[in-house]
């Protein structure tokens, strides 16, 4: 190869510096925006207290037993307060990060995908903070652990279950808006040949799952309203809620099966054209079979729930 041709294949130093800067920026952003911590399951929280009691000796054991056996309002309030404070602090951190990102965007120093990532992190942190504040208010009002059961009573005259459902619905609506932006980007990459149809389908699948979750929450909010209005007994409310969740699972599984079948058809066409290996085709076939099995399991679960006699 002659010298001129070699020079033609040397990267532009400006491009190398720019891509290096982009990678460094993205790595720093990821280090800052780790997923927010989720509220631990209440049984696990009690188990942790029991474990702590075991390490503290007899006095600690007695305290842990008290937590299990009777309301321990002061400890519960303190615990909810600490969790809420941590969530609010995290939200403030992401608010500051978001403002910084907006300033960078104004100077054309950041990409749309980075803005979307910061917005997603801020949205998740805001939702988490609102939920934990509602938890604290519920514990302060009733002295009991917060409950998300659709048949839970009002506490201090407030419907905390409904309020948390509303927060989660708003969170999913925001997530859907961000997903729209990601899908737009994926479609542009697909048009340019840098993203496969399977990647676009994966996002469409994500949207189907999100829509299923949204419908399940909407249904739960409706059931909660009927329960509070006295139109449903506690047992009926719980049964209707379980049915709504099961139906959402089925919708998501059916959408996943449709996506897997479309991906398999595309893989078969590529294989026939000699552009795909047999192993990749087999992987697509396996994915399609697994998606079909998951959909059938969801159908059977729903049928089982429907067959249980209403109490």
């Amino acid at each position: 190869m002659n010298h001129t041709l070699s020079q033609a294949h040397v990267a532009d130093p400006d491009f190398v510096r720019y891509l290096g800067w982009q990678l460094e920026h993205e790595l720093r952003r990821r280090a800052r925006f780790a997923p927010p911590p989720r509220r631990p399951a209440r049984l696990l929280a009690v188990a942790a207290l029991v474990l702590a009691g075991a390490t503290l000796g007899a006095g600690g054991m007695a305290a842990a037993a008290a937590v299990q056996d009777a309301p321990h309002k002061a400890v519960r309030i303190e615990r909810a307060r600490v969790a809420a404070a941590a969530a609010v602090e995290r939200q403030r951190f992401f608010e500051a990060a978001w403002q910084e990102t907006m300033r960078l965007r104004a100077d054309a120093m950041t990409s749309d995908s980075e803005v979307h990532a910061v917005e997603a992190a801020l949205g998740a942190a805001t939702t988490e903070a609102r939920l934990r504040i509602l938890d604290l208010e519920e514990v302060e009002a009733g002295g009991q652990e917060p409950s998300d059961a659709l048949s839970a009573p009002r506490v201090g005259g407030r419907d905390f279950v409904g309020e948390r459902l509303a927060v989660r619905l708003a969170d999913l609506a925001g997530a859907n808006t961000l997903l729209d932006a990601r899908m737009q980007r994926a479609r542009e990459l697909h048009e340019a040949g840098f993203a496969s149809a399977a990647e676009v389908q994966a996002l469409e699948q994500e949207r189907s799952t999100l829509a299923g979750s949204f419908h399940a929450l909407e249904a739960s909010a409706g059931i909660r309203g009927q329960f509070l209005a006295g139109a449903l007994s506690p047992q009926q409310a719980e049964r209707e809620g379980a049915l709504a969740r099961s139906l959402a699972h089925l919708e998501a599984a059916a959408a996943a099966e449709t996506g897997a079948r479309a991906a398999l058809q595309a893989a078969q066409a590529l294989y026939a054209a000699g552009a795909l290996g047999a192993a990749e085709l087999r992987a697509s076939e396996r994915t399609a079979r697994e998606a079909e099995a998951a959909r059938r399991l969801s159908e059977l679960d729903l049928r089982l729930l429907e067959s249980l006699p209403p109490r």
């Binding site: 294949h9 040397v10 491009f15 290096g20 990821r30």
Partner: protein, 173 residues
């Protein structure tokens, strides 16, 4: 060149940037030679390849041979790109020049070659890539594949025939 790559699931930023600096030139050259030296396309592919590494490595783990991983992804991105649009037909003599490295400096020849390679089975396609794009000779290919040179020549001959059949509709009479 040897690379010191950590085996844990998430590499610190400095490790990433060291790896980037050590490999970006080689990756760019690899891509550029495959797309006829089209700078905009080569830069897009290199950028997208690294963004995919960022998306994949923290969860799936850093591959044992990062440069090979990057080249495989870049190669697939290029094949995807070229698979989409039917290339302009070429005169037969320009196709003959592929063996002499024409795809490295001729975007139209590169497009046509990739269009054809994307329609071949993996084995013949890889062999032709090594021969046409990496300028490998039959002796080095024979050593790598554990075959005799004669066997490699036979496989190359059959692969070239397959490629010619695929490209026939795109060659000017």
């Amino acid at each position: 060149m040897s690379y010191s790559v950590r085996s844990e699931r998430v590499s610190p930023a400095e490790d990433w940037l060291d790896l980037y600096r050590a490999t970006v030139g080689d990756l760019y050259g690899y891509v550029s030679r495959r797309c006829g030296g089209q700078r905009a396309l080569a830069e897009d592919v290199v950028q997208e390849t690294w963004l995919r590494a960022l998306a994949s490595w923290p969860s799936a783990g850093t591959p044992k041979d990062p440069p090979a991983w990057l080249k495989t992804v870049a190669r697939n991105l290029l094949l995807n790109h070229y698979r989409r649009a039917a290339p302009e037909p070429l005169a037969p003599e320009r196709l003959e020049q592929l063996r002499d490295g024409a795809a490295g400096s001729d975007p139209e020849a590169a497009a046509l070659l990739h269009w054809g390679l994307g329609r071949l089975a993996r084995g013949p396609a890889r062999l032709l890539e090594a021969f046409y794009l990496d300028q490998r000779d039959t002796a080095s290919l024979a050593a790598e594949l554990g075959l005799s040179e004669r066997a490699v020549e036979g496989r190359l001959r059959r692969a070239r025939l397959q490629l010619q059949r695929k490209l026939a509709p795109r060659i000017l009479a």
